[in-house]
């Protein structure tokens, strides 16, 4: 396997323009002869499906939810970055590029990140034109706020519901194309297999989640926009249904999986209350603009109510350790700092796995009304879940699995190592390196969907003769259908004693402990022993009631968990091989005296992409070297 990044040469400011010009075009009257499948309907998927249909391609879009509007992009709260420099505070495309490369701890591809920063400005224009009700100033112009890890105000937001509003914008554009008959939408359909003919992606197999019917869809190109694999940890901020089955099928068919160990643990989530916990709820990190994070200085104070701990006995540890960024330190740094103080026994709340996020100073300074205006819905949500009023007592927060920077490897055109298979949004690995900055996921999803794939897929399709799609009767299609049917049958017929959730929880515990915020060689090796045991147990003892020919949520869950177990193993393998600390990947053996991540640029300034080598064989690790010609490799410092 060869990893050819197809990154354009020349000055980075011109590379996307030049590349776009160099891409071949598809004749307008030929576009309708090409069929493109888009799997997933979140920001990346909906934006891509709508835009490709506008261009004239025949598009089919698939979602596991009952409507494209429910994709988990909808839950993003804080905002979307764009280098508009509306606030005149020194922002620019180059600065957004610089911040993103640095924030990713120098493990992203420069050219991709530059393109992302460039098209960020178009995204805002597009969204406003669609009617996205971004926050505005009294003069009627758009408002901005600063967001985790940035020293300029470049984040556009719609209260605490930015993801919802951006997704509804893309969803409405998609529904318009559905209404016009240009996109055929398949709700409640889950991708089960990728069809590959002579090494080229030619379609997918899906299961209708209502009838259980398995059908094939053949096409000229396939786009996966299926999100991340954060649910490997069982407890995460992902939706319950978020899964990695589509990317895992693609991996097993030859798509390289890049940097699986790069996962983001978000610092501000509501702490776990007990074993019944099914997911974790994020509190937008925009709260860190006005909230101050602290724990008691003394262990013995941890059980006391917060307001009985005097100011001098509080440790505002982020402000202390990182005076210039303070409470806005990047996510990986903040999460680790929270873990550290809890490990020291200074955590708060019933489980002692929590730190305070305190608004009392901000309420004194700005008044409760202003705070309500900014964060009202978040405060409400917090109170609904915890039964505590954050206007009166500080919130309690703790880190949780949130986002996965790793994903299928893609070239500059967003094409995977399987020709014809494109990967968009969180599902690919491309732009965030080892750590994603706040408000950058929405930016990347929409950039890929609205402004990158519509160009690059044309360059690919222009090289394919129109009307050469394989038929549904092709042996490759039949074989793929067969393998899906067999897998379903296998899951149903085990008839064991444990529920799919049981195994998911077991896996989550192992991953959180050994492949979470702190990783060690010994821990990862241990995880690599336990996970295959979980897998073996799963295939022996899982219980899936009902049949494959009906709406069967246990079956859906079981299929996803089976894949998570395998991904977990690959994550640990990748984490073990990456003998350095960078961004979200913190190997405890590689830290500075102050406990900060220590990169090893000499040996690990590269992307690690894993190639599947068949059942029972160790996957092969390939590397794509990263060059930093515009942002010089430096140690990240937020002090």
């Amino acid at each position: 396997m060869e990893l050819i990044s197809r990154t354009p040469d020349g000055p980075i400011e011109k590379s996307w323009d030049k590349h776009r010009f160099d891409l071949k075009l598809v004749n307008p009257s030929n576009k309708r002869k090409y069929k493109i499948l888009v799997v997933g309907s979140g920001l990346a998927g909906a934006a891509a499906a709508a835009t490709l249909a506008e261009l004239g391609y025949e598009v089919e879009c698939f979602a596991y939810q009952d409507s494209p509007r429910r994709a988990h992009s909808i839950a993003a709260q804080g905002g979307i970055n764009a280098a508009k420099n509306y606030q005149n505070d020194g922002d620019s495309i180059f600065r957004l590029f610089y911040d993103t490369v640095k924030g990713g701890d120098f493990r992203a591809r420069e050219a991709n990140v530059y393109r992302l920063a460039q098209v960020s400005v178009n995204i805002i224009d597009q969204c406003v034109a669609q009617g996205v009700p971004f926050a505005r100033e009294y003069g009627g112009l758009l408002d901005n706020r600063s967001f985790g890890g940035a020293q300029v105000s470049r984040t556009f937001y719609a209260r605490g519901q930015t993801g919802q509003q951006l997704l509804l914008g893309a969803y409405q554009a998609l529904e318009r194309q559905i209404g016009l008959g240009k996109v055929k939408m398949f709700n409640r359909h889950e991708m089960q297999e990728l069809i590959v003919v002579d090494g080229v992606a030619k379609g997918i197999i899906v299961r209708d989640m209502v009838s259980g019917k398995v059908t094939s869809h053949t096409a000229d190109a396939v786009c996966l926009a299926t999100g991340g694999y954060g649910n490997v940890f069982y407890l995460s901020t992902n939706a319950k249904g978020c899964n990695a089955t589509a990317v895992w099928r693609a991996y097993k068919k030859g798509a390289a999986f890049a940097n699986p160990c790069y996962t983001q643990i978000h610092p501000t989530c509501i702490p776990v209350t007990g074993d019944h916990q099914s997911k974790l709820t994020l509190m937008s990190e925009s709260l860190r603009n006005d909230g101050r994070i602290w724990v008691p200085k003394k262990k013995e104070d941890c059980g006391k109510p917060a307001n009985q701990i005097p100011e001098e006995d509080r440790d505002y540890y982020l402000e202390r350790k990182y005076p210039s960024f303070g409470n806005l330190a990047p996510r990986d740094v903040s999460s680790r700092a929270a873990k550290q103080v809890c490990d020291e026994g200074r955590g708060v709340g019933p489980t002692r796995l929590g730190v305070y996020l305190d608004f009392s100073d901000a309420i004194k300074r700005l008044g409760a009304k202003k705070i309500e205006e900014k964060y009202g819905n978040l405060f409400e949500m917090y109170e609904r879940i915890t039964d505590e009023n954050p206007y009166e007592v500080p919130m309690r927060i703790f880190p949780a699995s949130h986002y996965t920077m790793g994903g299928l490897w893609v070239d500059y055109n967003l094409m995977s190592t399987i020709p014809g298979l494109f990967v968009l949004g969180e599902a690919n690995f491309s732009d965030h390196g080892a750590n994603r900055l706040g408000a950058s996921a929405l930016m990347q999803g929409l950039a890929d969907g609205y402004f990158v794939i519509p160009y690059t897929i044309g360059g690919y399709l222009a090289g394919i003769k129109p009307g050469t799609r394989i038929s549904a009767e092709d042996p490759a299609v039949k074989a793929a259908e067969q393998s899906v049917a067999e897998r379903t049958q296998r899951l149903i017929s085990i008839g064991g004693k444990q529920t799919p959730t049981h195994f998911h929880r077991e896996l989550g515990k192992v991953m959180w402990e050994h492949c979470g915020m702190g990783r060690t060689e010994a821990g990862l090796k241990k995880a690599l022993e336990i996970i295959p045991q979980i897998r073996e147990q799963f295939w022996k003892d899982v219980c899936v009631p009902g049949s494959g020919q009906e709406l069967n949520q246990s079956l859906e869950m079981a299929g996803r968990v089976a894949d998570f177990i395998e991904i977990g193993e690959l994550m640990c393998r990748d984490a073990l091989e990456r003998r350095e600390s960078c961004g979200g990947h913190f190997r405890e053996e590689w830290q500075t005296e102050e406990g900060e991540a220590r990169r090893d640029d000499e040996n690990f300034c590269h992307v690690a992409a894993w190639e599947y080598k068949g059942e029972g064989n160790t996957p092969q690790r390939h590397i794509e070297s990263l060059k930093f010609e515009n942002v010089h490799l430096a140690t990240r410092s937020y002090k």
């Binding site: 034109a129 009617g131 009627g140 519901q161 509003q165 509804l168 209502v210 939706a239 099914s278 949500m381």
Partner: protein, 261 residues
């Protein structure tokens, strides 16, 4: 403080869209008040699987009150007893030890039951597809700040845009009307300058689709507003009615022009 409850559930079970449904009683024991309502159902389901029975099917996804997927009528109220709270955000501390809880799917003709508590809300998507958008192909817009929008209008548009499309308004309405859902979108886009060119065709087309889907008409009960987890107000319906009347009075069939060149 965490407490534990023993509850009796009366749950609507229905094998599929064509089968008859019925209520089935289940005991939910030792339920922590810290659990969400869906987590309580998870516990009951785990138990059912262990007993070799078919678990209760219900729609859910984000579990943080924003995706709009969860949909159940709890003790006669869509999303349960707590105001402005979706089922997934409802916590068991809202119930007392010994309670009997009735759980049903949304009941409305345009939302057929698919299984147990799961219904088909495809009609909502079709209403949006009929006109709930601004026709703006990717790549064509002007600079985002070229068109200032008064803060009040932007805020009111956001209030309406907060709709999560869950369908509680329809489930609560004695007529199964979709007016609150529809008017939220009409208001959101109608309050913004970007939505003006299609303002009147939008409302006409969306109402046309709503009628075609066999939703009932609005008779001003206000049940929808009370059930809405996102606080969409009846004011949006008033706004929509105004636009609809104007749209009906000023309707002109589209001019058919010849192709240029």
């Amino acid at each position: 403080m965490e407490k534990h409850l023993n509850l009796t559930l009366q749950v609507w079970r229905q094998k599929d869209a064509t089968s008859e449904g019925t209520f089935v009683e289940y005991a939910a024991k030792h339920i922590s008040t810290e659990m969400s309502f869906l987590e309580m159902l998870d516990v009951v389901n785990e138990d059912l699987i262990h007993k070799g029975e078919d678990p209760i099917a219900f729609d859910h996804d984000c579990r943080e009150g924003i995706c709009g997927m969860c949909s159940m009528v709890i003790n006669g109220r869509p999303h349960g007893p707590k105001e402005r709270t979706t089922t997934c955000q409802l916590h068991m501390r809202s119930f007392s030890d010994g309670d009997t809880i009735t759980i049903e799917p949304w009941r409305a003709k345009p939302f057929p039951v698919l299984k147990d508590l799961i219904v088909d809300r495809g009609a909502f998507d079709r209403i949006i597809a009929a006109g709930g958008f601004v026709s703006v192909p990717t790549g064509s817009p002007q600079d985002a700040n070229a068109l200032p929008i008064p803060k009040l209008n932007a805020d009111l548009a956001m209030d309406a845009a907060a709709c999560i499309g869950c369908g509680a308004c329809v489930a609560a309405c004695p007529n199964a009307s979709a007016m609150l859902f529809l008017s939220a979108k009409v208001s959101h886009l109608g309050l913004l300058p970007q939505g003006q060119p299609e303002r009147y065709s939008r409302v006409r087309d969306m109402v046309g689709q709503m009628d075609a889907e066999a939703f009932g008409t609005c008779t001003n009960h206000g049940e929808c507003e009370a059930a809405c987890p996102k606080g969409i107000t009846l004011e949006t319906i008033a706004r929509m009615n105004r636009d609809y009347i104007k749209a009906s009075l000023t309707y002109r069939p589209e001019a058919v022009g010849g192709a240029a060149g």
